[in-house]
Amino acid sequence: MIINARINVRFKSGVLDPQGTAIKGALKHLGFDGVEDVRVGKLIEIKLDAASKEDAEGQIKDMCEKLLANPVIEDYSFELS
């Protein structure tokens, strides 16, 4: 079965995010005074041929831990459809 996975990778809380900091500054500059925090992440879309949803889940988790996210600084989450 074909499974579409949407994977979100972002910095762990507590790790300073240089892009997020810059965007926050720019938003404030544009008058969005309510902005308290900005975090920038990556969205990775994968189309996967897997035996089952559980199989896909296992594979995606593996991909995240091996390559897609760096556990030293990044967290990940994903949804399958």
Partner: protein, 237 residues
Amino acid sequence: MKCAVIMFPGSNCDVDCYHACRDVLGQPTEYVFHKEKFSSVDFDLIVLPGGFSYGDYLRAGAIARFSPAMESVIKAAEAGKLILGICNGFQILLEAKLLPGAMKRNRDLKFHCHDVFLRVENNNTPFTGLYKKGEIIKVPIAHGEGNYFADRDTMEKLKARGGVVFTYCDRDGNVTEEANPNGSVENIAGIVSEQGNVLGMMPHPERCAEDILGNTDGRRVFESILQYVEGSVAHGR
């Protein structure tokens, strides 16, 4: 001393490192293509050069670490061979977990190409034996992702074992916020592995190793390595 320079797709300081090892240092040097494997006994020094391996897509160094040549690099590291990662090479060493921590984009999100001052924090390594501890040297940087990060525990362990080799400082050797070009934790510019045989550094010693370049402060990284390797041979280690 037999040197290898690994060529990843997107490496671009490979020729500079090759030039430093072969022409400046006068040692036999070979390129190793990323699709090739090699044996730990083939080389005494393995250089992971700067550049943008795999375009630095995903994360700098993240994809390069899975190449066949890196399997051999990891084995060589385990066998105690000297591994020098410069710039992108440092990023690959972090991704490969041969060194602790991770790299983020520079604090100001800009690429920085200019000279920086470094303080030699540890000269008791195969890579820095010819420097004095606390010596201030000038070395160019050229990177967009040199913002070194490690969590508190890792930092404590790293510092406790003398793992920090170079820090960014000002002309007079003060390790200050202003002297930090990229936002690295505690101004870290270069670190060494626990066994002492793997060094990663963001600045480029190969770009300041000849008189004609107006600065030879980086040359002693290569000369220290040579002295160490020849010493090891002489002592039968």
